[in-house]
């Protein structure tokens, strides 16, 4: 993805939910995208699938996939392309199932929209996928969504996203509203799918512990921009951006030293009134007046091979 900017035109002003974001996704990896509310991560994911809902619109940028530029593809070609190449599991997806359709009809509709598979073939493939996610195909296929529990619906959604063997699977907070034990199970399932099918995954969440569990590389977003990209070890053990470092410090866990926890001061960014320089500056402990408050938007610097940050003070963070 190169120079993606997505704007939302509201009566009070224009919000740049995503501003000038460039990101590489490598084949076979699990990329974690971390961000709190207002970070723009969900908008970024919708952009890949060209599903930004109005009043938002993709102002500029390019997305290259297997030699094609996705944002310029004509609508019907992209509709065919979508789901069979890149699939998405939405936030609170368990409620995205059509309550008046049986599960098997969901599979049939989705597959028929993109391929010419026969109904029998679709059911066979769906059954295999449902078994893969440890559900009983006979029972589940004939059920309506409300007859299944939240955890079961989420597994159905995952199976549904895999029906066309996509190359990339984007998951936006796939485990919210699930209880802890089911969440752990789904995370293990995703790791298994990744190993068995070799599918590339993009995992979006605000929960750093999920990222710690599953991601290979991590991109951290704040106020519409990516502020750091690195491997999961680099992000947790050697972050080079004050926001990342602040996040890791602010999250309690079951095994940490409670007294070492520190909140990030200040409040989340007001997207209508962003500071002109570094957007994290008002809350930053490494803040230097000369350049952090400047008028130039920081770009990602490759501080170490493969480890990018927008913080100009990154060397200080290594101490």
């Amino acid at each position: 993805m190169r120079n993606i900017t997505v704007e939302f035109m509201l009566r009070q002003g224009t919000i740049k939910a995503v501003e000038n974001v460039s990101l590489d996704i490598f084949k076979g990896e699990i990329l974690g995208v971390v961000g709190e509310s207002g970070s723009g991560k969900s908008t970024l994911a919708s952009t890949i699938l060209r599903m930004v809902s109005s009043p938002g619109r993709i102002k500029e940028g390019e997305i290259y996939f297997e030699g094609k530029e996705l944002l310029k593809m004509p609508e019907d070609e992209f509709n065919q392309f979508r789901w069979s190449n890149i699939a998405m599991v939405f936030q609170a997806a368990q409620n995205a199932l059509n309550p008046v359709l049986k599960i098997k009809d969901h599979f049939i509709e989705t597959a028929k929209a993109h391929t010419r598979m026969s109904e029998n073939d679709i059911i066979e493939k769906a059954s295999k996928l449902l078994e893969y996610v440890r559900l009983q195909p006979k029972q589940v296929l004939d059920s309506y969504p409300h007859q299944l529990s939240g955890g079961m619906r989420q597994r159905v959604i995952i199976a549904l996203s895999l029906i066309l063997d996509p190359k990339i699977l984007i998951l936006d907070e796939p485990t919210t509203a699930l209880d802890v034990i089911t969440q752990a199970y789904i995370m293990d399932l995703l790791a298994k799918i990744h190993v068995d099918l070799g599918i590339t995954m993009v995992f979006l969440t605000h929960d750093l512990s999920l990222i710690a569990k599953i991601a290979d590389r991590v991109a951290v977003m704040y106020a519409g921009k990516i502020v750091e990209i690195g491997t999961v070890e680099e992000i947790f053990y050697g972050p080079l951006h004050p926001y990342t470092k602040g996040l890791v410090l602010a999250i309690p866990s079951l095994v940490d030293d409670i007294t070492a926890r520190r909140p990030i001061p200040g409040s989340p960014p007001n997207m209508l009134d962003l500071p002109s320089g570094c957007r994290f500056a008002p809350r930053c402990g490494y803040h230097m007046i000369e350049y952090c408050d400047g008028t130039v938007q920081a770009e990602l610097i490759e501080a170490k091979p493969g480890h990018f940050t927008t913080c100009l003070e990154w060397e200080r963070m290594m101490e």
């Binding site: 709190e36 509310s37 440890r134 529990s149 955890g151 079961m152 209880d179 802890v180 034990i181 089911t182 969440q183 752990a184 199970y185 995370m187 293990d188 605000h206 929960d207 750093l208 512990s209 999920l210 990222i211 710690a212 569990k213 999961v232 070890e233 947790f236 602040g246 996040l247 890791v248 602010a250 999250i251 309690p252 866990s253 079951l254 095994v255 409670i258 926890r261 520190r262 909140p263 990030i264 001061p265 409040s267 989340p268």
Partner: protein, 337 residues
Amino acid sequence: MAPLLELKNIRMIFENRSSILSPIRRVQAIEKVNLEIKEGQIYALVGESGCGKTTLGKVICGLQKPTEGEVLFNGKDIWNLKRKEFNDYRRSVQLVHQDSYAALNPARTIYQSLSAPLFRYKIVKNKNEALKFLEELFDMVGLTPADQFLYKFPHQLSGGQRQRILLARALSIKPKLIVADEPVSMVDVSLRISLLNLMLEMNTKFNISFVYITHDLATARYIASQGRVAVMYLGKIVEFGALDEVIGNPKHPYLQALLSAVPIPDPKIVRSMKPLPLKSLDMPDASNPPSGCRFHPRCPYGEEICSKEIPELLQMEGDRSIACHLLEKIPKWEWGQ
């Protein structure tokens, strides 16, 4: 020392039916819960959705009358109190909701919403006194300058700010106990600790007891590290005790499974953790709970007695209690096993 509030043999059964022709569905939301809340102590009430923790919170606040059992405040059942004594109880036990937007009147300014209880209890006599009081209160909860918040409507403020206002409102009438139902789950992760720190401060400064209801064990550990934790499953407390002891040495299989499943924000640790193998992933339906121990269909150690008899919450040393028939047979749980 006598407890501030005591729940005795609380049972809560909800009955509903979808239409006049369908059978009545009885949901046993709480099954024989006993809990003592002491002054100045912090209690974490932990469980997943459907375990009855929110309902228990409402029973503590007097919003829900239990089907059976007593809610004793200063030794007397709140549902039998005379008007004046009941008012005392009301003032002493407050609630902070999970959804800060829904818990504030959208058609009233923050000042209007927060001054109402002050006038009701005659804590202030007029607008000037109310403003002064609220300024000091807001200063204490970190919302300065106060006039930036007092004249706004709830939708004009951020989630974290609203949550602090909810806490301020609960504190304004000087309660002895605050029940906080998932107070940080709708707040940005980077701000959660500051809200929890605020509650801890209120606990030490004013000796206010807290009942912190959550599904998130990590924040429960943060806030109740010096307090007690009660773990609930399908309406029953299955384990209770000092938090560091319970988390350090969990005895009930459900708690062990829960601790194995909670992800840790540390790649080296979390990738070496293995889940406790449970026989079934799904929570049973609350309207049709399993016989005997409610956890037995999922429990890896279940034996015959487990499906026949409901285990009582038995006290071990001190405060610690566990509800399990096979206590001695449950292996010790280690981190990262």
